[in-house]
Amino acid sequence: MSSTILEIKGVNKTFGGLHALSDVNLQITEGETHAIIGPNGAGKSTLLNCCIGKLIPDNGSVTFNGRNMIGMPPHEINHAGMVRVFQTPEIFPDLSLIDNLMIPALAKRDGTYSFNPFKSMAKEKAIRDEAMESLAEFGLDKFHDQHAGSISRGDKRRLELAMGLIQHPTLLLLDEPTAGMARHDTNNTIELLKSGKMGEMTKVIIEHDMHVVFSLADRISVLARGHIIATGTPEEIKDDPKVKEAYLGEEQEDE
């Protein structure tokens, strides 16, 4: 049995009078792909934000690799090995694709701050090669010197994934990696997330698309109105009456 990487214990978060998260408990074990599903407004993004330091929960604990993450600034959480991939691509639109990948690679090497104004970028061959390799992996190498702002939306999503991956995170948090994608692109992304290094990585995926969830997830947690109402294997979740009631019904209405 592999060990627990991320443990969320009794996390509460309220906005004004609204309980976004109530007593959320969740354990992510090493090597698994864990999907968090739930209707809109269930608190999925809030939970993610509590993990990466964007929000601080009112109480409860978030422990990652044995370290308490609460109150830690986002950049340190990143270095602890928990990396988030954003739903809407948060790339560097004014920089070239290769630079977009070199930045996270540099973060991995240089830490949260390093002052090296006289080092030449031209001499950063190792970093550049790594970035180039990663671009090739995602089929983006042909655009490497284009501005990231100018490439297609799908390419931006792939770039976003590549940026997360190049940091070799211990845990990758994916926020709806296929939202708004055409079916064809979605399938490609699923393949990408399943294969190679990506496949072996511990991942938390927030996803709407049940097709994606059931293709990828080892375990699934269902979040509704701030509560985790069920956690289990895809089969268990499929058959859980509470889930059907709270989520799947609504899901069908959506479509």
């Binding site: 990466i52 600034p73 986002p74 950049h75 340190e76 990143n78 270095h79 990396v83 988030r84 954003f86 948060e90 790339i91 560097f92 639109p93 004014d94 920089l95 070239s96 630079d99 070199m102 930045i103 996270p104 540099l106 973060a107 991995k108 240089d110 830490g111 949260t112 701050y113 390093s114 002052f115 090296n116 104004p117 006289f118 080092k119 030449s120 970028m121 031209a122 950063e124 970093i127 010197d145 284009q146 501005h147 940026m163 940091q167």
Partner: protein, 380 residues
Amino acid sequence: MKNLFKSNAVIMLVFSAVVLSAPIWADPIGANYPDLLQKFAIFGLFAVGYNILFGLTGYLSFGHAAFLGVGSYAAVWSLKLLTMNVFLGIILATIISGLFALVIGFISLRRSGIYFSILTLAFAQMSYSLAYSVLTPITNGETGLQIAADDPRFLDRLFGITQEGVAIPSTHFFGFDIKSMDGYFGFYFAAVVLIIGFYIALKIFRSPFGLKLKAIKSNQTRMTYTGFNTRPYLLSAFVISGMYAGLAGSIMVAIDPLAGAERMQWTASGEVVLMTILGGVGTLIGPMLGAAIIKYAENIFSALNNTELTQMFNFAPETIQNALVFIVEPFVGKGWHLSLGAMFMLVVIFLPGGVMEGVERILRLFGIGKKKKVVEGDAK
């Protein structure tokens, strides 16, 4: 071929050649006299440094004139208290303005966007107001801080260095009188500092540090989630650019030992912002071009009068000559501010990337230059 033009050595060679030959190419445009050439170099340096903050990180500071002022005052005090050798003054001024920038930057950088701008503006205006009035014992207020014959100059005295036969000693750089060569030594001195400053800026632009600053400008939130603590990066850029400003201020003093409070006024801060945008934000050469254009307008346009205009348009038949003089006259002499204002508007409306964009467009027209806009300084 392309790579050749992008190598640091070639850029520096071309840049140095252009800067040092300024007395030759500035002659036909009537700018070949020491003071203006010095101003080109000094404000070029100021703008190059400012661009490290504004061009790379996108943080719009309205308070950089304060650092220039602090650098000037520090340099004059070094001349008064220590030695007439400007070397020490320049070093001290750069350090002190850096410290000053550290304090102001530390506070101001707790905010971003327009709030950051207003914070820096507030600090600079406070510095100016105080320097003009309450701090007169340190700054000599309205008159400005000058050196005097009876200043202590402890270091000079310690080593028994005196300048014979003059009431007020002149500044020198290890024995080379800054005023020698009819003032051209002062220009070459400033030019060499500019070249060094430009080289450092070039290195910064092309370093991982510079790339990270550009990334902050592009998407600061993402930088934090990518594992960077952005505030120390911003503070470093702020302090570096503050030190450039202080350095520029001290060069001003080295050439002309006087420091006045109005150097710190918000309009002076605004001027360097305008220089940078006018020339082209984030480009290496642009800010210097902007500085040269504004200083040229200030010094040359403001001096043109009817007589000179008439001479200038001598080539044309008389009616056209009169018409030309009539059209141009409101824009020069006492109306030189008008041409400055109009120029700002025209550049921003038609060339959002500043003069550098214009240059690039022209180059593209001739089929030279790059097809696609790539952020300057990406050495490949």
